[in-house]
């Protein structure tokens, strides 16, 4: 075969492929437009406990022999926990279950109007301790490992710092900011000279989900449209579309926040930067990070725009743990826990770290 013939054959193959994909785009685009929301969070689970905004799930173990220490994952208060269990094959929960962990997850319902007064005290001195106690009862084990994501990591850190004799065995902080003066655009927008958080909390009571979502989306204003353009081109690719829709649903289901909680986090953590300075007091207890003595793993993303690198970097220097480690990975705030970087890099390293500390 001559070069010209081979080249002609390549062009033919490519053109045929392009035409096939164009047809697929049309057919699947119609299905996309007419189908309901993505099916997420499919790993079997039971609701172990619920009270107001708080939900505690227990996932059904997938192997016969478990590690002794159960794992409790704490979701950020602004989003639903199904990002931990996005899709089969793209689920951190499923991954840990298959590796022999007994997995529990703290999820949040939208706070009801009467929960507008919830504070850090409720989350760190009531909700997390209650869930840990429920996990102890369910498993019969005296200690529990906690994995906190983003603000869930902050709450877990405050819990750990205020429960030094508590049953915490290991603490994993995923994209957890501690230096709140380094939070990028969030720091600029929440400038205390201009941001009247008292007025926002007093007027709204519950901060609407749209308000929170806009704050997130404004930080990457082109992201949504770029995503839609990408998915329109990739419409022939079922796996890509499935993953895109799951992430899209997760972003759309941003949660409202209790006004009092927002007021407190803005003033104490944002303006006062008290988690970083060690001046934070929650429920009458000092939440100094040097009180955290349990083995600690911090997993951070290189291109995280919500918890930028400078805000997560000081964690290891601030905690009192002897056994501590940081894993810095490529990726962003969400892809770190549920994207390709998570599947290929983060989950295996997390599992390895936890496994040797869970017997």
């Amino acid at each position: 075969m001559t070069n010209t013939e081979a080249s002609g054959s390549d062009v033919g193959t490519r053109v045929r492929g392009m035409v096939e994909r164009a047809i697929q785009r049309g057919v699947k685009g119609f299905q996309y437009a007419t189908s309901g929301p993505a099916k997420v969070g499919l790993t079997p689970k039971t609701t172990l406990y619920g009270r107001g905004t708080l939900q505690l799930y227990h996932y059904t173990p997938l192997v016969d022999e478990l590690y002794r220490v159960p794992v409790l994952m704490v979701m950020a208060t602004t989003n639903k926990a199904f990002v931990f269990d996005l899709l089969p094959g793209q689920s951190m929960v499923e991954f840990l279950l298959k590796r022999g962990f007994d997995v529990f997850v703290v999820d949040w319902n939208p706070p009801a109007p009467e929960e507008r007064g919830l504070k850090l005290e409720d989350y760190t001195q009531d909700f997390i301790p209650t869930c840990i106690r429920k996990v102890q009862q369910e498993t019969g084990q005296p200690d529990v490992s906690v994995i906190g994501y983003c603000m869930g990591g902050v709450l877990s850190l405050i819990y750990a710092a205020t429960h030094v004799d508590g049953p915490l065995k290991n603490l994993v902080c995923l994209t957890t900011p501690v230096d709140w003066k380094q939070m990028g655009l969030t720091t600029v927008w929440n400038d205390e000279r201009y941001f009247d958080v008292d007025r926002v909390a007093d007027t709204l009571g519950i901060i609407p989900a749209d308000f929170i979502r806009q704050m997130f989306e404004m930080q990457k204003p082109a992201q949504r449209l770029a995503g839609q353009l990408r998915v329109s081109e990739q419409m022939w690719n079922d796996e890509f579309v499935r993953s895109y829709r799951a992430f899209e649903r997760w972003g759309d289901e941003t949660l409202p926040l209790a006004g009092e909680y927002m007021r407190q986090t803005t003033k104490e953590l944002g303006w006062g930067n008290k988690l970083f300075t060690g001046e934070l007091v929650v429920g009458g207890r000092e939440a100094k990070l040097k009180n955290v003595k349990v083995p600690l793993l911090s997993v951070v993303a290189e291109h995280d725009h919500l918890a930028p690198r400078d805000s997560t970097k000081p964690l290891l220097d601030l905690v009192g743990s002897n056994d501590k480690e940081e894993i810095l990975l490529k990726g962003g705030h969400v892809s770190l826990i549920a994207g390709p970087s998570a599947i290929g890099r983060m989950w295996p390293r997390l599992e390895r770290w936890l496994a040797v500390r869970s017997t």
Binding site: E65, L66, G117, Q136, E138, L185, V188
Partner: protein, 133 residues
Amino acid sequence: MANNGPPDPAATFRELVTTWERNINSLANQVMGTESFSRMMQEMQRMQLALQQATSEAMGRRLAAMNMPTREDIIRLAEKIGDVDRRLAHIEAALEGNAVPAAETAPRTGRPRTRQPPAEYLSPNNQNKETPR
């Protein structure tokens, strides 16, 4: 080896989208990362909240005139029920605290908790050492 075939329009499109997204985000962040933008954004928010508050107060006065509970009244009632719920949870916690320690209770998950990490995980050379600090 260089690809001598015709350009792939889909790949070109993806690259264009990525470049466009990066540029727009970068430009927007420059604009929105300024003090003047922050001041303007918060000023707009203040006006919106003032309007919302005025509407809510006017509605509250009308409902009071009709001898009907306002949203605020209902929320206060629900808060009181929430308080009772919280107290019950604390009583439950206290009772559980007085019961046998967690370690001595029979676990409901009836699978053996004897799993050991694979041997290679225990080797110091195979720990997470890629980004030590």
